[in-house]
């Protein structure tokens, strides 16, 4: 049982016509028979290069360094003849089905038989039986053996490729996007076939895919590959439930199959062509620091069996509060608003804080922003204790947007005065610069930036406009954390949708974090990655939206979900009826001014 496939420090540099392209950098992993390693990454991340180099198929003029060891025998340095003998015999590959992965002018029988002839020297009836048995194994009638590749459907060809890979009973199987071009039913069939064959034959499987849902079901361990580097690696469940690297989180957010209710957000930007001596993800990363541009991070162990490659130790912790307790006194009564609440918010994430009225949500928001002081507990923002409102006074700090903008935005101020106020109070920038930033912030929330609008008084704005103005006022400080306390509950549905998409878009681009306080569970489900359920001043439950929504273990959560989503089984009722929108009889419209 000492069999193991070990890859150590594998690097591949392709010698191109003009310049060299580094396709794989310092990749290491090991795999035992019966286990499955999932490799995930966008196209061009080096997945296929990794597969080919494990088979020893990349040689001069390309440069391959590192070690690939099978059962203690290093194979990259073997002479070509020796490598040929090991190929398909020890490591075989299920290629991604494409037009020409099989030779178009040779019959399937011949293509299936040739590795058997090569490695086992079988002939005649024995060979024929074996080939037929292989077709049986993958569930194809044997008359198809006489066909040419172009006569089969994509799903059948994928089965042929699987049969071919298994023809020499390999110890390790590399499956390169085995289901990418298939429909849902075929995909399910192929994947369960691979799974059952693995259980039967016990081969070690390297499953390469760009589809998280494929890998999530199949692999125990997951490797996230980006520009030829491992960015994150660990047990599949843990990595997907709590990604530690910004890129992994971006992938999870980009994947509609993970949690269909959630909004879809891709990772902005394109993969770097050649990272050189810096972090390969730096150009698309929203939490990059100076070091990320100058130095290549190393792959570090951050927990047992969890590795990430990031100078900041993964997604940075932005705000942390530990054991916060707050009591109000009303006459003789002591009202325990918060009891021992610990919350942490990471860079770039959206956390929904839900709970019934009076559960302490707004109190928590005010404590987090430094407006209220907790009785007990400590609060750290970017590693500095928050005592007093310093975090809200600086750029890149915390900004709070409240539910009712008719109260939080002064009627008598002009639009420009409202938005530039925090800059003026905190003495940031010169007047010209302030004006630019005001206009930029207004543009970001899709409000006009012309002089007429800038000098308009706020009483002449609609509710939706004023709420957007409040958000612009927060954004002008370029916050790292936006505390949004029911910011859309007073808006009509369409404005609500626009505003939220706007905020998510800005977040995706600039990378600030949001704590969204809301009653609306549909909303929470749609926009946030993590959810915190507050009940009677305590945290009742916390987890990824997918986990909490799909398998909550907390009675309070279940009650809230039931009430908020209308049905205990959220999968059954994806549509919902909204509470009626209250009209605002005293609203002044801009055009009335």
């Amino acid at each position: 049982m000492g069999s193991v496939l070990e890859v150590e420090g594998l690097s591949v540099v392709y010698a191109g016509q003009k310049r060299e392209v580094s396709a794989l950098r310092d990749v290491s992993f090991d795999l035992r028979p019966g286990d499955t390693l999932g490799i995930i990454g966008e196209s061009g991340s080096g997945k296929t290069t990794l597969a080919l180099s494990i088979l020893g198929l990349l040689g001069a003029p390309h440069r391959v360094s590192g070690r690939v060891t099978i059962n203690g025998k290093e194979i990259l340095s073997l002479p070509e003849e020796e490598k040929k003998k090991l190929r398909w015999r020890q490591v075989a590959m299920v290629f991604q089905n494409s037009q020409e992965v099989l030779n178009p002018v040779l019959k399937l029988a011949e293509q299936l038989a040739e590795p058997i002839v090569r490695h086992f020297g079988l002939r005649g009836a024995e060979l024929e039986n074996r080939v037929k048995a292989l077709f049986d194994l993958v569930g194809l009638p044997s008359f198809w053996l006489d066909a040419y590749p172009h006569q089969l459907s994509g799903g059948m060809l994928q089965r042929v490729l699987l049969a071919m890979a298994l023809s020499c009973d390999p110890q390790y199987l590399i499956a390169d996007e085995p289901t990418a071009s298939l429909d849902a039913i075929c995909r399910q069939e192929i994947l369960s076939k691979i799974k059952s064959l693995q259980a039967e034959k016990g081969f070690g499987l390297v499953l390469i895919s760009h589809d998280l849902s494929v890998v999530a079901d199949m692999a125990e361990r997951l490797m996230v590959l980006y520009c030829g580097e491992i960015l994150e690696m660990g047990p599949t469940g843990e990595v997907l439930e709590g990604p530690r690297h910004p890129y992994t989180r971006g992938l999870v957010n980009s994947c509609v199959g993970r949690f269909p209710y959630k909004d879809l957000w891709g990772i902005p930007g394109e993969p770097a062509r050649d990272a050189g001596q810096r972090c390969s993800f730096v150009a698309r990363c929203t939490q990059a620091i100076g070091k990320c541009n100058d130095e290549r991070p190393a792959l570090r162990l951050v927990a047992s069996d969890r590795q990430i490659r990031c100078h900041r130790g993964g997604i940075a912790l932005l705000l942390e509060c530990r054991g916060v307790t707050k009591t109000f006194t009303l006459g003789n009564h002591r009202i325990q608003a918060l009891t021992d609440v610990s919350v942490s918010i990471k860079h770039g994430e959206t956390v929904a804080l839900v709970g019934v009225s009076g559960s302490g949500k707004s109190t928590l928001a005010q404590i987090l922003s430094g407006i209220l002081r907790p009785d007990k507990g400590e609060l750290l923002f970017k590693g500095r204790p928050v005592n007093g409102p310093w975090a809200t006074r600086q750029q890149g700090g915390i900004q709070l947007v409240l539910q009712d903008s008719s109260g939080s935005v002064s009627h008598r101020f002009t639009v420009e005065e409202v938005v530039s106020e925090p800059l003026i109070i905190n003495k940031i920038g010169c007047p010209a610069e302030r004006k630019n930033r005001v206009q930029e912030a207004l543009r970001a929330v899709q409000l006009p930036v012309d002089e007429a609008f800038l000098s308009r008084r706020c009483f002449a704005l609609s509710n939706g406009q004023r709420q957007r103005l409040a958000i612009a006022r927060a954004l002008v400080m370029e916050p790292a954390l936006l505390l949004a306390d029911e910011i859309v509950s007073m808006l009509d549905v369409s404005t609500q949708a626009n505003l939220l998409r706007l905020l998510k878009g800005l977040q995706n681009e600039k990378g600030f974090s949001m704590l969204v306080i809301t009653h609306d569970l549909h909303l929470a489900r749609k926009i946030s990655e993590r959810i915190i359920v507050l009940h009677a001043g305590r945290i009742a439950e916390e987890g990824s939206v997918k986990r909490v929504m799909e398998s909550s273990c907390c009675i309070h959560t279940q009650r809230i979900l039931e009430a908020g989503l209308g049905s205990p089984d959220i999968k059954e009722k994806p549509f919902f009826v909204r509470s009626p929108i209250h009209p605002h009889p005293f609203e002044y419209r801009g055009d009335m001014a």
Partner: protein
């Protein structure tokens, strides 16, 4: 399936009819008509007394009849194998053509086989070693040799190997006035005479085949199934010949058919340089004496030949590339 075969047959038949019709029409469309030449010694104007004779000949050859009637008669004659009567050789054209055809077929087919073998061999040699110095050298030599006209090659060979060194005979297809002691001696003599024309044609044609094979193989080498074949750990011989060359020769089949037409042109040149008694030489002789029936007859034979080569290539391609067949099992 049978419907498709029938359709293909009709296609070829139609092509043949078009060729025959053109062959019928072109001499009749030419200014002056055939007898302008017949009664004219080269460069001199026609004598007047010929007017009477001319009408006699027009009548004799049926050229005074309506065109449609002439056409029908032409087709009928053709069907009977009557290609007309040469007025220079005073002999049926068919006899003339049949006597000359084997010699041309012999050198053309032999040089085709040789140039394809050589081209495939050198082409795959180059493709497997692409961008090494052997490949670059061979490629340059081949590209340059492909641009040299075949009559230059022929003349060079004639002067160096035949006239200079005397290894091969200067002209003809056989030695005259010789009694052969055995059939082998006869064959050796024929081969010795054919050697230079065949060599000329082979040299002129190898370059094209070489370039096609090299390019086609290089394209095939980058195909995904080549990675598959290598991943399976197959032997180099099998990868190269069963997987790569098998795919790379497909365009060659098409080229074979296309080349047949060009070969006739090259054969005319080669046969004239070496005074080889084939169709090419017959064409030249006929042109000199303006013997229209011979030219027409030769054209028909060449057309049938090229058409035949196309049919063979078509069938061969269908056999070699399963994708062109119907998708039935």
């Amino acid at each position: 399936m049978n419907g498709k075969k029938l359709l293909r047959f009709v296609e070829y038949l139609f092509t043949f009819v078009v060729v025959v019709t053109l062959n019928f029409a072109i001499p009749r469309l030419m200014p002056g008509g055939p007898f302008a030449a017949m009664f004219t010694d080269l460069g001199e104007s026609a004598s007047l007394f010929a007017q009477e004779q001319r009408r006699y000949f027009m009548e004799y050859y049926g050229l005074d009849r309506p065109v449609l009637e002439q056409y029908i008669r032409y087709i009928k004659d053709l069907a009977r194998g009557n290609l007309g009567f040469s007025y220079y050789y005073k002999e049926p054209v068919l006899n003339l053509v049949l006597r000359r055809l084997p010699w041309t077929l012999f050198i053309v087919l032999l040089s085709t086989v040789l140039s394809f073998l050589l081209g495939i061999l050198l082409g795959s040699f180059s493709a497997w070693r692409r961008n090494t110095w052997c490949d670059v050298l061979l490629y340059s030599v081949m590209v340059v040799s492909g641009t040299v006209p075949s009559f230059l090659i022929g003349l060079f060979l004639l002067f160096s190997l035949a006239a200079g060194l005397g290894i091969f005979p200067l002209s003809g297809a056989t030695s005259h006035f010789v009694q052969y002691e055995s059939i082998w001696e006869n064959l050796a003599d024929i081969l010795r005479h054919a050697a230079l024309p065949v060599l000329t044609l082979t040299l002129a044609r190898t370059s094209g085949v070489y370039q096609l094979v090299r390019n086609s193989l290089i394209t095939v080498l980058s195909r995904e199934y080549m990675v598959t074949a290598r991943a399976k750990g197959l032997r180099e011989v099998r990868i190269r010949y069963r997987h790569a060359l098998r795919n790379a020769i497909l365009p060659l089949v098409t080229r074979f058919a296309l080349q047949m037409a060009g070969f006739v042109g090259a054969a005319i040149v080669a046969e004239n340089v070496f005074a080889y008694p084939g169709l090419g030489r017959l064409i030249r002789e006929a042109v000199f004496v303006r013997d229209y029936p011979i030219l027409q007859g030769v054209f028909i034979v060449v057309a049938v030949w090229v058409l035949g080569a196309n049919i063979i290539a078509d069938m061969l391609y269908r056999r070699l590339d399963p994708r062109t067949k119907n998708n039935e099992l």
